[in-house]
């Protein structure tokens, strides 16, 4: 649709016309600000915890485990130097091994979600699929944070209560 619009504008004499190819979906998925009725709706990216521990592929699992537990976390995201998500260490993986590199024990290629997904949708999905935590990434795979199921459910409940109050007779 927008390429046609761009061409039509040129035909009217507009000399500098650009087409944002990836469009609104890309913008919202990147967690950039937006306007409109749905712009304030809480999303996965808003509720995700940005302080989740991260580690690299070649770290020793025992070192990572100690660091993660000391920070009172039960999950760690494996990233590269560009913060691209490569794997995930949940409870089960964190408990495995001593000298092995993270690469050998991590869950590779974990499912990730985009920051723009509504928090009610995320809470429903995580409950249905029994996911305790989910990495949230930009469309190019960069880590935004980790969404905990408890946080998602709490935010979704709050939203529902607010909606019910607003629609009370």
């Amino acid at each position: 649709m927008s390429p046609r619009a761009a061409w039509r504008l040129e035909s009217f004499g507009f000399t500098e016309v650009y087409h944002y190819e990836a469009g609104k979906l890309d913008w919202i998925a990147a967690g950039l600000p937006s306007e409109g009725r749905d712009a304030e709706r809480p999303r996965a990216g808003d509720v995700a915890r940005k302080d989740v521990p991260t580690c690299s592929l070649d770290e020793r699992i025992a070192d990572v485990r100690a660091r993660v537990r000391a920070a009172d976390w039960d999950v760690c995201v494996v990233v590269n130097e560009e913060r691209i998500v490569l794997g995930l260490l949940r409870h089960d993986q964190l408990d495995k091994g001593e000298d092995e590199p993270v690469e050998q024990v991590m869950r590779p290629g974990p499912s990730t979600f985009r920051p723009h997904v509504g928090i009610e949708e995320m809470a429903r999905y995580m409950i249905e699929h029994d996911l305790e935590s989910s990495p949230i990434t930009t469309s190019d795979g960069r880590l935004v944070g980790v969404l905990l199921r408890t946080d998602a459910a709490k935010a979704a409940n709050k939203l529902r209560e607010q909606h019910e109050r607003e629609h009370e007779p």
């Binding site: 649709m1 927008s2 390429p3 046609r4 619009a5 761009a6 061409w7 039509r8 504008l9 040129e10 009217f12 004499g13 507009f14 000399t15 500098e16 016309v17 650009y18 087409h19 944002y20 190819e21 990836a22 469009g23 609104k24 979906l25 890309d26 913008w27 919202i28 990147a30 950039l32 600000p33 937006s34 306007e35 409109g36 009725r37 749905d38 712009a39």
Partner: protein, 67 residues
């Protein structure tokens, strides 16, 4: 020929005063749009582009995705 650009380039052009146009129907625009965008659905471009846009400034158009 209109030039395809990415998100970084959109931000750069906006900081330099480009105009931003969402060509989706009004309902979708009202739900959510990029900051500062005006709504000019494809069918209205014919009748409204010349009055609502400044032809001397860059214009960026977008819809949902590359379709």
């Amino acid at each position: 020929m209109p030039q395809g650009i990415d998100r970084d380039e959109v931000q750069r052009l906006l900081s330099e005063g480009a105009q931003l146009v969402e060509v989706l129907p009004r309902e979708e625009y009202e739900e959510e749009h990029l900051p500062g965008a005006i709504n000019l659905p494809l069918r209205k471009i014919e009748s409204e582009a010349k009055t609502r846009l400044d032809p001397t400034r860059p214009v960026i158009v977008y819809c949902w995705d590359s379709a």
